[in-house]
Amino acid sequence: MNFTNFGKYLLLLKAVFRKPEKFKIYLKAIFQQMDFVGVGSLGLIAIISTFIGAVMTLQIAFQLVSDFIPKTIIGSVTRDSSILELSPTITAIVLAGKIGSAISSEIGTMRVSEQIDALEIMGINSPGYLILPKLIAGVTMVPVLVVFAMVLSIAGGYLGGTLSGAVTPAEYIQGITTDFNPYTITVALVKAFVFGFIITTVPAYEGFYVKGGALEVAQASTRAVVVSCISILACDYIVTQLLL
C-alpha cells in the first residue's frame, strides 16, 4: 500500500464514520455481519486452534529433553504462546482469508455492477452503509473468536500432550495454572481488536475502489488478503513492542 492508497484508505474511513441515515437499518446489518464474522467462523477457528494447541504441546515436549526442566513447563509455554501470539495471529490470518476475501469480493462486485453508484444516487452514504456494520462486527467478534481460540488451543494442548504421553494431565494442568499473568489476555484482546479492524477495513477498501470486471474483483480479493496478512503481522509486532 503506497502513500496515495493509504491516503485514500484514511479518507474512506472518514466517510465510514459519517452519521448513519437510519440507525435501525444499520443495527440490523451489524447483527447480520456479527453472525457472518463470528458464528460463521466458529467451526473453522475451533478446528485450527485445537490442532495448533496439540501440535505445539508435542513440539515443546520434543524440545524439552533436559531432566532439569520440569514437565509442567510444557503447559506454561503452551498457555503463554497460545494466549499471546498463536490465538490472535493465527485466528486473524485465517479470518483475513475467509472474511477478508468475502468482504472484498462482495463490495467489489457491487462496485462493478453499479450497485454502489445506485446507493450514492439514492443519497445513501455508501461507505457507511457497506463498511461500518462489517467494521463493528470485526472489532467485536474477532476478540470473541480469539478468546474461543485460546481456550481451545490450551484444551488441544491437553489432548495432544496426554494422549501421546508427552505430559501427564496433572503436570499439564499444573503448568497452565502456575504463574499465570492476566495481562497477557489484555495484550491478546488489544491485538484482536486491531486485527478485527484490519480484517474488515483493508478488504473493504480494496473492493470499494475496484475498477473493471470479474478479473479485477478477483485480483482485488487476492490483494486484500495479502495486504491484510502483512498488516496483521506488522501490527502484531508494533502492539507487542508497545504493550510488553
Partner: protein, 250 residues
C-alpha cells in the same frame, strides 16, 4: 428543470467533455445521444455527481449542485431517481426489498404504507405479484422495470436513465421507452435518458442533445432531427439502411 453550463471533464490527458451546455425541462423526455465514446455517460455522471467536472455548473431548479457539500447533495439526491444500464438491483434483496429500500432509508412510514407504495410502483411497471422474486430470477426487461419501479418509489423530481434499451429485444425496448415517457408526463419529472437507440430517439425524444467527440453538435426535437444538414448527426442517426429508407417518410 436541470441546466448544465460549459461542462468540461478530462481523464488524464484525454478530454472527454469540451464545454457542454443545455437545458432539460420538466415534463419532457430529454435525450442525450451520441456514438460510443462521445461522452454521454460521462456527462450523465457529472450531472449526478459520480464524476466531478473540472469546469462548469449543474443547476437543479437553480440550485448549483457541483459546489454543494455532502449533506446538501444528499438533499438533492433524495429528489433523484435513476435507472442504470445494468439495472443495478441489489442481488441479495428481493424485488420488494429493492423497491422498499429507499423508503426504509428515508421515510418513517409503517410497513403497510411502504408495502402499498411498493405494490403501486410494481403495478405501474406491470409487474404485480413479483414481490418475492430475486433479481437473478428476472429477465433483462423485468430487471429494467424493477429498476424503474425503484427509481420512482420516492416520487422523484428528476429521473435519469442510462441506456434503457441495452440488451433488450426491440419489443421490450419499446415497452420500456413508453413507460419512461408515461412516467415523465404523469409525474412531470425532468427526465434525462442517455441512449444510442434510434427507436428511442424517434419515439420519445422531446428534446435531444447530440454529442460528438465531447462537444455538443446539435440540439432539437425528434421531429427536427430528420431534417438537419449536419453530417455527423446524419451519419449517426441514419447509419442503418433501415433508417436511411425511413428518412424519406419523416
Amino acid at each position: 428543470m436541470i441546466e448544465i453550463k460549459d461542462i468540461e471533464k478530462s481523464f488524464g490527458s484525454n478530454t472527454v467533455l469540451k464545454g457542454i451546455s443545455g437545458i432539460f425541462k420538466e415534463g419532457l423526455t430529454n435525450l442525450i445521444i451520441g456514438g460510443s465514446g462521445s461522452g454521454k455517460t460521462t456527462l450523465l455522471k457529472c450531472m449526478i455527481g459520480l464524476h466531478t467536472p473540472e469546469k462548469g455548473s449543474v443547476l437543479y431548479d437553480g440550485r448549483e449542485f457541483i459546489d454543494m457539500n455532502f449533506e446538501q447533495r444528499i438533499e438533492i439526491r433524495k429528489e433523484i431517481g435513476m435507472l442504470f444500464q445494468g439495472s443495478a438491483l441489489f442481488d441479495s434483496m428481493t424485488v420488494e426489498e429493492n423497491i422498499m429500500f429507499p423508503l426504509n432509508m428515508f421515510t418513517d412510514h409503517s410497513f403497510k404504507e411502504k408495502l402499498e407504495r411498493v405494490n403501486f410502483c410494481l403495478e405501474r411497471v406491470n409487474l404485480e405479484g413479483k414481490n418475492k422474486l430475486f433479481p437473478a430470477e428476472l429477465s433483462g426487461g423485468m430487471k429494467k422495470r424493477v429498476g424503474i419501479a425503484r427509481a420512482i418509489a420516492m416520487n422523484p423530481k428528476y429521473l435519469f436513465v442510462d441506456e434503457p434499451n441495452s440488451g433488450l429485444d426491440p419489443k421490450t425496448s419499446i415497452v420500456i421507452d413508453e413507460l419512461i415517457k408515461e412516467i415523465t408526463e404523469e409525474y412531470n419529472t425532468t427526465t434525462i435518458v442517455v441512449t444510442h437507440d434510434m427507436n428511442s430517439v424517434m419515439g420519445i425524444g422531446d428534446y435531444i442533445l447530440f454529442l460528438h467527440e465531447g462537444k455538443k453538435f446539435w440540439e432539437g426535437s425528434n421531429k427536427e432531427i430528420a431534417h438537419t444538414d449536419i453530417e455527423e448527426l446524419n451519419d449517426f442517426v441514419f447509419a442503418s439502411r433501415f433508417m436511411k429508407a425511413a428518412k424519406k417518410n419523416f
